[in-house]
């Protein structure tokens, strides 16, 4: 859909609009260089290659992109405001719905911020389980990315293959949390339930067959001339620009900077695992593709080590003021009933103060700024979501390229609109 149509066709309308009027009309604050010569094109919000309801306002000279302005907010649900009216535990379910492709990472970032405020340390077993599930979430999120990215570049088979394997991981999530996607499995002080017996063998089975599947994807893409020509040298961003524009995650590592929060500021016991941070130096779409595919292997390494060392023991901390009592205790202990009642009506109080906790989500740095005023409800929650910040660098990557390459670039920075708009 064109907003202000080409000069050739309805020339009456275009001559009446000044640049200021045009800008007011499009409302994205984009500088329009030459409104009379260039074509203004609105891409989205309903467009299969924008991975959700993202609208891009493009200024085009022929097929060359002169400028891009992302227009977001179509999925804004006011998560941060809503959380202020819920207790810490009840607000957790909203974090699943932000980045719906890796809810485990969102849960982890939010829960660890609460635990930092409370100053509690979860049990070793809970930590290892958190790591296993976060890494499974990373694999499943990267699978969706790989499938849709390849689909954008007209490789449909990869899409079907990737969703098949993702389905297996979602089944694992359902096994532990009862939910395929909106898991809310990590809770303040530990986990919702312990792992079921069949979980560990099922994950081991996944680790057995998944390398063969990665080989399948690679066989379809690695030497595919169409894929290579559409990704190599496209959407280049230098490491300096990437840092200045706040790019994180595999998109940053594709530009040659080895920065992974799991390594630099380890949380949830990541310092105990032996893994590498895949980096590439080219900074193009292909480099970002390579980084994510290499992360499959690293995540599998972490999961394997975590399964080997999975300790026995309790999954929750021993603090009835934070962790609700089990169902069996409710029939026997009056104290447990009181704690249960207090926790599910009022919630637990958190010491006054503010913290900022970052985790490495599949898309980059996911951070939670949490301020407590001493009451059972958060006074302010703010999420630094990787998709939102990474999207700001899209104009940098796309300027001067072809319109068709824009689709590849959007795919390569791996945005989730729920994560952007929240």
């Amino acid at each position: 859909m064109t907003l202000a149509t080409q000069p050739t066709s309805s020339s009456d309308t275009i001559q009446e609009l000044t640049v200021e009027e045009l800008r007011a009309k499009v409302g994205t604050g984009m500088e329009i260089e030459d409104a009379e010569e260039h074509l203004l094109l609105s891409m989205g919000p309903q467009h299969p290659s924008t991975h959700g309801v993202l609208r891009l306002l493009l200024e085009l000279d022929g097929e060359t992109v002169i400028n891009v302005a992302p227009d977001i907010g179509f999925l804004h649900t006011g998560v941060e405001k809503t959380m202020e009216s819920k207790t810490y535990t009840k607000a957790l379910v909203l974090t699943d719905r932000m980045d719906y492709l890796s809810p485990m990472s969102n849960n982890l970032g939010y829960i660890m911020a609460i635990e930092k405020l409370l100053d509690v340390e979860v049990t070793p077993r809970a930590q290892v389980i958190r790591v296993i599930l976060s890494e499974l979430a990373r694999i499943s999120s990267h699978l969706v990315w790989l499938g849709t990215h390849a689909l954008d570049l007209a490789a449909m088979t990869v899409f079907l293959y990737c969703f098949r394997e993702r389905e297996y991981i979602l089944d694992l999530f359902e096994m532990v949390a009862g939910q395929r996607m909106m898991v809310s499995y990590f809770r303040p002080g530990g986990l919702w339930r312990d792992l079921p017996e069949e979980f560990v063998p099922a994950v081991r089975h996944f680790l057995d067959f998944f390398p063969g599947k990665i080989a399948d994807y690679e066989a379809l893409l690695k030497k595919n001339p169409i894929f290579l020509r559409r990704t190599k040298g496209v959407g280049v961003i230098s490491a300096e620009d990437a840092i200045a524009w706040g790019v994180t995650g595999p998109s940053l590592r594709g530009s040659g900077l080895e920065w992974d929060i799991r390594k630099t500021q380890p949380y949830a016991g990541y310092e105990q695992y032996d893994f590498d941070v895949p980096t590439r130096t080219e900074g193009d779409v292909y480099a970002r593709y390579r980084c994510r595919v290499d992360e499959f292997w690293q995540s599998m390494r972490i999961i394997e080590q975590a399964l080997d060392k999975l300790p026995d023991g309790p999954i929750n901390i021993d603090n009835p003021k934070i962790v609700p009592p089990s169902r069996s205790q409710l029939g026997q202990s009056m104290e447990a009933v009181i704690h249960h009642f207090k926790l599910w009506t009022e919630g637990f109080s958190v010491p006054e103060g503010y913290v900022y906790h970052s985790v490495e989500s599949p898309r980059g740095e996911f951070a939670c700024y949490l301020r407590s005023d001493g009451s059972p409800k958060p006074a302010r929650v703010h999420f630094r979501t990787p998709s939102f910040v990474n999207l700001a660098s899209l104009p940098n990557m796309a300027k001067g390229g072809f319109l068709a390459d824009l689709v590849a670039i959007i795919g390569s920075i791996d945005i989730v609109l729920g994560d952007i708009d929240r």
Partner: protein, 173 residues
């Protein structure tokens, strides 16, 4: 941590009278910076050889109603070379006269400041790109402020059906 102290020393050395208060909580250091000094301090933190806070992780704003000054803006900085995080906090008395934009120091700041303006209504001096980012262009107010109601739907009963119905938004014909 020694690096926490190094930051304070360097700031005190270069920018006179900038730090109002220093807070440590759960291993995180917060520097309260005077609003008119924030630009200088940020420039220093990024460019100083021994600090190099080259990565702006996040900007967020707090509404501290009923306290005065009512607003506070947080800058979460990270130094990639030295692997250190730091929070700068600026108290804002009048949200229309907020701190200067950090666009010249970290380009990503324009994007993050726009979000703060949209949802909290703190205006950053010199940021010309401030606009509605998440909300529709004709939206009134800034929803993350504490005096902004959550907006529940009013319940209609037979005795006040008409009265409440007339206030409800209707689809445009």
């Amino acid at each position: 941590m020694e690096r926490d102290q190094l930051v304070v020393d360097k700031v005190n050395e270069a920018v006179r009278d900038a730090i109002e208060e220093i807070k440590d909580f759960r291993g995180e250091r917060t520097l309260y910076i005077k609003p008119n000094r924030i630009k200088k301090v940020c420039q220093l933190l990024r460019d100083e050889e021994a600090l190099q806070y080259n990565f702006l992780s996040d900007i967020s704003a707090d509404d501290l109603l009923p306290e005065f000054p009512r607003f506070a803006v947080n800058y979460h900085l990270y130094s990639i070379p030295f692997n250190h995080r730091l929070r700068l906090r600026v108290r804002i008395e009048d949200p229309d006269k907020g701190p200067a934009t950090m666009a010249g120091v970290w380009p990503i700041a324009t994007w993050l400041e726009t979000e703060v303006w949209d949802l909290m209504g703190v205006r950053f001096k010199g940021n010309k790109g401030l606009r509605r980012l998440f909300l529709p262009e004709d939206w009134q107010g800034h929803p993350l402020r504490k005096d902004y109601p959550l907006g529940y739907e009013e319940v209609q009963f037979t005795f006040n059906w008409e009265e409440i119905g007339s206030r409800k938004p209707q689809p445009k014909d």
